[in-house]
Chain length 119, copies 2
Amino acid sequence: MPKVPPQCPMDSILRLLMGPWTTYIIWVLSDQGPQRFGALKRAVPGISTRMLTERLRMLQGAGVIWREQAETIPPAVSYGLTSRGNDLRSVLDALGEIAHNWEHEGVFAGEGGGRHEGQ
Amino acid sequence: MPKVPPQCPMDSILRLLMGPWTTYIIWVLSDQGPQRFGALKRAVPGISTRMLTERLRMLQGAGVIWREQAETIPPAVSYGLTSRGNDLRSVLDALGEIAHNWEHEGVFAGEGGGRHEGQ
DNA sequence: CTATGCAGTTACTTTTCCGTTCCTACTTTA
DNA sequence: TAAAGTAGGAACGGAAAAGTAACTGCATAG
């Protein structure tokens, strides 16, 4: 019994964007352009290697980002947004704008400093 | 040390939409119009009373939905989207469209039947 | 007089996620 | 020779999220 009927493929996509880091990674890649693993890790302060790897793999699996590995020693791996990732970005921008407006209206003020900053 | 700097208020809003049921609830409310608690529960098959209550409270707290309680016996409680909820809906529609396209391209096919349906 | 529906609340249990830590194999630098 | 950087992988463990179940009080239906 499918709990989430096919009418709502949005669920899959939201599940993709959901994690605390995912949108931030996309944001960095679209804002700073393609980045190497280490640079990305430094650009997303606080993320663990494990999480970064996992998110990148997932986004790559969904075709949202590409991965380019140079067979040098040590290997240099770069990540960047694909066209699909850019599709996503326009929506995230729209959402960001709404979030911005809501912030002005104090929607998130009530939970301010709350748990959602931890981790 | 704020892990998610203020540049990204999107994080708060995504945290709101994140849960497995949240977007589905919004979808139902925007598709079928305002609903009473029981009807909503039946419209989102598989959700538990507890989850539904929690999500509704959260969405209400964010001003995305309204709650109207008639002091009859038994009490009749209705929920519906606010204008803020409708803001959200346009974005969700855009996202849904992207998800729809991706589905056609088989993006989610690889994980098909996987754990993400068991929620 | 028992069952059922309304709209939840509370407690308990399970699952899942996520962070932390240690490890790889290789090269350059001190 | 030891340390550090590169790009991760594997194992462990705690906390948070989510599911399950039982309970509320009142009214109507059987």
